[in-house]
């Protein structure tokens, strides 16, 4: 019970932070970040090999230059290049793409803050929802790494190698949502009927109070 409440409170604090961030940054900025995060994720998932090949090519070019390919003996430089290991191998591919995605995300956050002016990024309910959705998306992505970081034996309960697997990520999202529902129910269930009545009355009162232009009847 206490564990469930702790999960719920932690997640609420986390999502509230992202909701607040969404409100501060506004709709346009949050939407741009959400689109960039999702598209870059899909792109790296589908065409990650191209990014890896490009990274290896750039690394090889630099290696060639540092070995004197442009100034000294080109043959020696080519020989050194041929024997040098690849920057990103098959075993480090997923970790590399994961880092690339995180860098894209950080740049997107910073760049949208500079490029999109405050006036063009309206602060409304949608910006809060987008902020929360972004937070939820990041939680799904970062969860396995954080899990491994904070677990006593340093092992994640989720598969870390599945870092860029879209299906695995969606599975984590559904599991996270389900945990929230279970934790929320863990709060309501001990109160029994009264808990349900309090919840129901609370929602109805919020709805009735939010009606604009007066709730006076016209029946």
């Amino acid at each position: 019970m206490i564990g469930e409440v702790a999960i719920l409170i932690s997640l609420l604090i986390y999502l509230t932070f992202f909701g607040w961030l969404g409100w501060r940054r506004g709709f346009a900025r949050e939407l741009t970040v959400a689109i960039i995060a999702l598209l870059s994720w899909l792109l790296l998932d589908q065409s990650g090999d191209i990014v890896v090949a490009m990274a290896n090519l750039i690394a090889a070019g630099l290696q060639f230059a540092f070995d004197g390919g442009f100034t000294g003996s080109a043959d020696e430089a080519f020989a050194a290049l041929a024997s040098a290991p690849e920057l990103v191998g098959a075993d480090t591919r997923d970790a590399f793409l994961y880092v690339v995605w995180v860098v894209v995300l950080v740049v997107a956050y910073l760049a949208t803050g500079w490029i999109i002016p405050d006036k063009k990024s309206e602060k409304n309910g949608w910006s809060i929802i987008l902020g929360v959705l972004n937070g939820f998306f990041f939680a799904m992505v970062f969860l396995p790494s954080l899990d491994a970081l904070f677990s006593p034996d340093g092992e994640a309960s989720a598969d870390l190698d599945a870092g860029l697997d879209l299906l695995a990520m969606m599975g984590r999202g559904v599991s996270l949502l389900w945990d929230v529902i279970v934790a929320f129910w863990g709060l309501i269930a001990p109160l029994g009927s009264v808990g349900i009545l309090i919840l129901l009355t609370g929602i109805l009162v919020i709805a009735a109070m939010s009606i604009r232009g007066g709730a006076k009847a016209k029946s």
Binding site: G125, L197, L200, I203, L204, V205, I211, K216
Partner: protein, 180 residues
């Protein structure tokens, strides 16, 4: 046939969709009527059961095992559905004003729709459960764990001993409506 909860969840989802289409300002009026119906039907259940049960016993005879149960279940279902229909289609208690803009308004419509779905589908289920499923006997042995858990939280069974609790949200909503 599938689990029984699928049937009532489907009814609930349809009510939620209706709620989304109508908006929460209109739905709140229906919620008020449903809550009052729940209070009345639960408050007078004992005397109505006794009176109608005796009448049904006389009409159907004691050898017709499911007769009185079928009659009572049908009676409550029809009365409840009639009240709900009046709440949706008739000229009833409405809240004036405009809904909050989306997404808050949409979210509130969804939440109020879920409440109405729970109240309507749950009450319909309760009047089958309370009288031993006179319409669908074969289902009883197939209940899943989820269905058994849900049965404990069907609206009329929440405050069977003290249905006055249902008046609390009604009173608060009426105060908000009158205050304007």
């Amino acid at each position: 046939m599938g689990p029984i909860e699928i049937l009532y969840l489907t009814i609930g989802i349809i009510v939620v969709l209706i709620g989304l289409a109508r908006g929460y300002v209109k739905e709140l009026g229906s919620t008020l009527i449903i809550l009052v119906a729940l209070f009345i039907l639960t408050f007078f259940k004992e005397p109505v059961d006794a009176a109608l049960g005796a009448t049904a016993q006389g009409a159907f005879g004691s050898e017709e095992g499911a007769g009185p149960e079928l009659f009572l279940s049908l009676f409550y279902t029809i009365v409840f559905v009639a009240i709900v229909f009046t709440g949706y289609a008739g000229r009833t208690l409405t809240f004036g004003g405009h809904p909050a803009p989306p997404p808050q308004g949409l979210l509130l419509s969804l939440l109020v729709g879920i409440i109405n779905g729970y109240l309507i589908a749950g009450t319909l289920w309760y009047y089958q459960e309370a009288y031993g499923y006179p319409f669908f006997q074969p289902f009883q042995s197939e209940f899943t764990e989820a269905a058994q858990a849900m049965i404990a939280f069907l609206p009329p069974s929440l405050f069977e001993d003290n249905p006055v609790y249902w008046i609390i949200p009604v009173a608060i909503l009426l105060i908000i409506r009158v205050r304007g």
